[in-house]
């Protein structure tokens, strides 16, 4: 009896040890369970703290209350319009930043002349916090959509240019030289090698930048606004509706996550050749 049990314990110990090997792959099932588990733990802690009345509901309402607040938001306060407004602003600001920023970044990563011209300015402006531009933009263009879109643009454009430049710079020199020895002219090396080689990195950059754009929208809408998720959050604060604030924050989290996964999916569809 003891003899047959011993190897089992041994095996279990060995298996547990394997999980702690640096970078050791783990079974998919276990991976998913652990990921869901971390969310569950968060929910359990939240529930324990609130249902037990350990924390004043004014500061942190129960999960049920937050869910109820969300339902009210959709049914009575037109939250769908807020979401659409915010999404529109984020996407417009992000797309404008990408349309101008990607070519500029590629130029910067390809030609030293462009790098010398653009990099110092970008490096300088990117350290200026986008939120500090809010008063200036209100002064310039008022408090409408244009101002919100401008904030998103400032928050994402300068980082985007620098990151795309790095992507272009990282294309292996040997690959460009091979193209030359195969008879490619300069313009062909750029169009047929540098550009396709950079595309997956560019899409990754866009994925990261759009996440930042989502965080800037709230800042933009907290100040002088009449619609959007940020506006809903600041109004809820005035009414002490903590549940709505939390629901608003969660909504942005979910929207960000959905955008992120869409980009990842797109990446797999467009670039099946990436190692």
């Amino acid at each position: 009896m003891q003899n047959s049990q011993e190897p089992n314990i041994e095996r279990a110990r060995r298996r547990l040890g394997d999980l702690l090997n640096p970078r050791e792959p783990i079974p998919t099932g276990l991976y998913i369970s652990l990921s869901i588990g971390s969310f569950a733990v968060l929910l359990v802690v939240w529930a324990a703290l609130t249902y037990s009345k350990f924390i004043d509901p004014l500061f942190l309402p129960t999960p049920t209350r937050v869910f109820q607040a969300g339902l009210d938001l959709f049914l009575e306060f037109g939250f769908t319009t807020d979401i659409l407004n915010s999404t529109y602003r984020v996407m417009l600001g992000f797309v404008i930043a990408a349309v101008i920023g990607v070519p500029l970044g590629l130029l910067m990563g390809t030609f030293k002349v462009a790098e010398a011209l653009i990099e110092p300015i970008m490096g300088f402006i990117r350290y200026m916090p986008a939120s500090a531009f809010i008063p200036l933009f209100i002064l310039w263009v008022g408090i409408g959509d244009v101002e919100k879109v401008a904030i998103i643009f400032v928050g994402s454009f300068f980082q985007l240019v620098l990151m795309v430049a790095v992507v272009a710079k990282n294309v292996h020199q040997d690959m460009l030289e091979t193209a030359y020895t195969l008879g490619a002219k300069r313009i062909q090396v750029i169009w047929k090698v540098l550009l396709p080689a950079s595309l997956p990195g560019i899409l990754d950059t866009l994925r990261i930048i759009v996440g930042w754009a989502w965080t800037y929208i709230v800042v933009a809408e907290l100040v002088a606004s009449s619609s959007g998720i940020g506006y809903m959050i600041i109004s809820a604060q005035r009414m002490l509706r903590t549940g709505s604030i939390i629901f608003g924050i969660l909504t942005i989290g979910v929207l960000g996550l959905v955008t992120d996964y869409s980009f990842k999916w797109l990446h797999q569809k467009l670039f099946p050749w990436v190692e």
Partner: protein, 265 residues
């Protein structure tokens, strides 16, 4: 004596300048590569042999001297000199066949002909069945086979290879050497090969040029009278062992000098 050389590397020197001191990488090398010959430059690491090949490819400019191909002075990289690098340089977004077709597409060869030529070279390097595969699914040896096929598909006047098997394991390396000799024996194209591996140099070549440690000069020229086609069994023949010993002695002196040079720096 001055039988027209296919590739004439004419009194090439390369000097790197930086922070007030100069490093002479290559010091007046003169080489004549004959038409349809398999020539190898053998040298210790850091002797400037890759730089010499890059100059022949037109990817680097010599400080002095010039390179002529069929009598024409070269001024930059071009389709007439195919090049294979040690690092894997396949375009990962193109399939095996598309990679091989790349050069043909640039020169505006018509589509049908492109396909035919690419298919022919896919088969020459033994990759039939892998035409539509992306490079990520290939082993190191297969990647280098595609790189060789891609360079050959352009029908270059000379093929330049810069330690193409340097990153491969010993067994794959040996198989690739055999494959390259087969392809060469079949196409009979001029090849200039660069390596630091003595056995590889002798097994592949008609002539081996041994280089000195920095500054790089040609120290000796070894003719390899082994018969063709080459077979791996030849590596244990008396002639092969004799040649290998001679080349090893030469290169060993240089390798020792190279380490002393570094220590003295």
């Amino acid at each position: 004596m001055d039988e027209a050389a296919k590739l004439h590397i004419q009194q090439i020197s390369k000097v790197y300048r930086g922070d007030g001191h100069e490093v002479i990488a290559i010091d007046g090398i003169d080489l004549r590569i004959r038409n349809r010959e398999f020539a190898t430059i053998l040298g210790p690491s850091g002797c400037g042999k890759s730089t010499l090949l890059r100059i022949a490819a037109g990817l680097a400019k010599p400080t002095q001297g010039l390179v002529r191909l069929d009598g024409q002075t070269i001024s930059g990289p071009g389709q007439d000199r195919g090049m294979v690098f040690q690092s894997y340089t396949l375009f990962p977004w193109l399939t095996v066949k598309e990679n091989i077709q790349f050069g043909l597409g640039l020169s505006g060869t018509d589509r049908v002909q492109q396909e035919q030529i690419a298919q022919e070279f896919v088969e020459k390097v033994g990759l039939k069945g892998f035409e539509r595969v992306y490079p990520k699914a290939l082993s190191g040896g297969m990647k280098q086979r595609v790189a060789i096929a891609r360079a050959l598909a352009n029908n270059p006047a000379i093929l330049l290879l810069d330690e193409p098997f340097g990153a491969l394991d010993a067994q794959t390396r040996s198989l690739m050497q055999e494959l390259l000799t087969q392809v060469w024996e079949e196409l009979h194209i001029t090849i200039l090969f660069v390596t630091h591996d003595v056995e590889e140099a002798i097994f592949l070549s008609d002539r081996v040029f041994v280089m000195t440690a920095r500054p790089g000069r040609i120290k000796a020229e070894i003719d390899v009278p082994l018969e063709r086609p080459r077979r791996y069994e030849m590596k244990s023949s008396e002639t092969f062992r004799h040649l290998k010993k001679r080349a090893l002695d030469l290169i060993r002196e240089e390798a020792i000098k190279a380490t002393q040079y570094k220590d003295g720096e």
